[in-house]
Amino acid sequence: MPHIICLAKQVPDPETPAAQFKVDEAAKKVIPVPGIQPVPSQFDTIGVEAALRIKDDVADTIITIVSLGPDSNRDTIKHSLAMGADEGVHINDPAVNDSDHWATAETLAAAIKKLEPYDLIIAGRQAVDWDMGVVGTTIAEILDLPSVTIAKDVKMADGTVTVERVLLDGFETVEAPTPCVVTVSNELGEPRYPQLRQIMQAAKKEVKTWTIADLGIDTPQNRTTLEALFVPDTSIETEFIEGESAQEIGEKLAVRLNEEKLI
């Protein structure tokens, strides 16, 4: 039975309107906006979609969701289960819930070891809060697995994972032996949206809760110190071009840019 592990993080909604996005500079944290719920990190949901497409072909594939974070992360696991994943593991421990990327990777790697055997680990190319893009590949290194980053298509058959990788000016096809780590990008396509019936079914699926003690490791240490978090001021004075007609406005814009030697 093929076993795929998908990593899923919960993040503040990246569609939060710019005007409401605020940071507590002293605490170095983003201030939650009342009424806007945290959401599953988009690339992770795409990762679950990638796993489900494999399961669509090979029905006995088991997909396990692993998520690290506080109580609310359960919603992110439930969302993945409603999409069609089979089981969830929620690592919930105040000692690591606020870890940096490196301690997170070590914790997740320990959880993945506990879930052996597995064929494929799928992570998002980056989490959409910190946008660091290191956890998937770092886990590969910790577990001494090959990794392929920024995938738009993932197939798995006969011990080989075939990945379509997004390059700067095109694509490449890469094969990796299982087990391996793949990080996925939005070019993979829209993740499926759970139907009501699936949401009800997901309620019955098992979610294990693990602490650091369950993983049998010492609390991993952070390797970075966040010195500051702030919202940069990027707004500038805008010169609005106005006129009687669209024709006039269009021409005026060209003339102004020409005056500024921009064309």
Partner: protein, 325 residues
């Protein structure tokens, strides 16, 4: 005691020096240097002198077919060995396909960390301070790294290269990759270019980008016309790449390309933070958008509120006229 700066330069697919290499060397010099630059690939030896002229005190050339095209498994043992030998205090790579893939894995080999996609680097005593965007470009974070080497990847065009000086002296040494084929677990079976003709988006001095407000893929024809008149390149928002209206490699933004033209014209783009992350250092943004409250206007020097379908043709024809005058 770890000291100095090690940077991993890169060649482009067509054998030139990737401009980020010079920016990395400059960044390393600004941090106090001395800078050792690794150039790995095939046929890269000829680029070493250019790195010296750009400010590298030493260039380590690793010329081996196993290193082209890039594969993590081939690069990591080579990068790990050189890093051990050089024992730098700071290690820098570009935020390129290679940097994204290699930097985190190399960091793990040294139980250190890497700050990805940095826009500014400085030193506080011996401590690297790495500043980078996060939250889709809505916020900035400053990090210290509690490990050695202190690693960062640098966003393209974040640092000015030093003026090239051919009288600069530097040592150039050759090394073997020291990697065998059986260490490379992955295999590249195919590679395809998606869009090659015309001006490269990253190099263009004028970029005209279209968003969902264009209303359909046909709209891009108009943008291409203007790009041709102006000698520029056409970009796109993620929304339109996701819709299949325009090719993926033209996506500008956080998960697309960072562009640095003198003039950026955004047509029917709302200006989400993730899009703005790709144009954060552009000084002259022009926005055409029918919504006066669109976020794009906040960062725009010139704005037009209106339907692009009505405004753009007149704008384009006037530009054509002014260009030919």
């Amino acid at each position: 005691m770890a000291s100095g700066v090690l940077v991993f330069g890169e060649a482009t697919d067509d054998g030139g020096l990737n401009p980020v290499t010079k920016e990395l060397i400059a960044a390393g010099s600004n941090l106090g240097g001395p800078v050792t630059c690794v150039l790995a690939g095939t046929g890269v030896e000829g680029l070493a002198q250019e790195c010296v002229a750009a400010g590298a005190g030493k260039v380590i050339v690793v010329d081996d077919p196993i290193l082209t095209p890039y594969q993590g498994d081939a690069y990591i043992p080579m990068a790990e060995r050189i890093t051990k030998e050089v024992d730098p205090s700071v290690l820098l790579m570009g935020q390129t396909m290679m940097g994204r893939d290699l930097a985190p894995r190399l960091a793990q080999r040294f139980s250190t960390a890497v700050a990805m996609d940095c826009m500014a680097l400085s030193m506080d005593g011996d401590q690297l301070i790495a500043e980078r965007p996060c939250y889709g470009g809505s916020a900035r974070a400053r990090y210290k790294i509690n490990g050695t080497p202190q690693m960062a990847t640098l966003r393209a065009k974040a640092v000015e290269p030093l003026a090239p000086d051919s009288s600069r002296q530097g040592e150039i040494v050759r090394q073997d990759a020291g990697v065998t084929a059986d260490q490379v677990r992955t295999k590249i079976t195919d590679r395809r270019k998606e869009k090659a003709e015309g001006v490269r988006l990253e190099d263009a001095t004028v970029v005209i980008s279209g968003g969902r407000g264009l209303g359909g893929p046909e709209g891009f024809k108009e943008l291409e016309d203007l790009a041709e008149i102006m000698g520029g390149a056409v970009g796109a928002s993620r929304a339109v790449c996701d819709l299949g209206w325009y090719p993926v490699p033209t996506q500008v933004g956080l998960t697309g390309k960072v562009v640095t033209p003198d003039l950026y014209i955004a047509v029917g783009i709302s200006g989400a933070s993730q899009h703005m992350a790709g144009i954060s250092s552009v000084k002259n943004i022009v926005a055409i958008n029918k919504d006066a409250d669109a976020n794009i206007f906040k960062a725009s020097r010139f704005g037009v509120v209106g339907d692009w379908k009505e405004i753009f043709p007149a704008f384009k024809e006037k530009v054509r006229e002014l260009k030919s005058a």
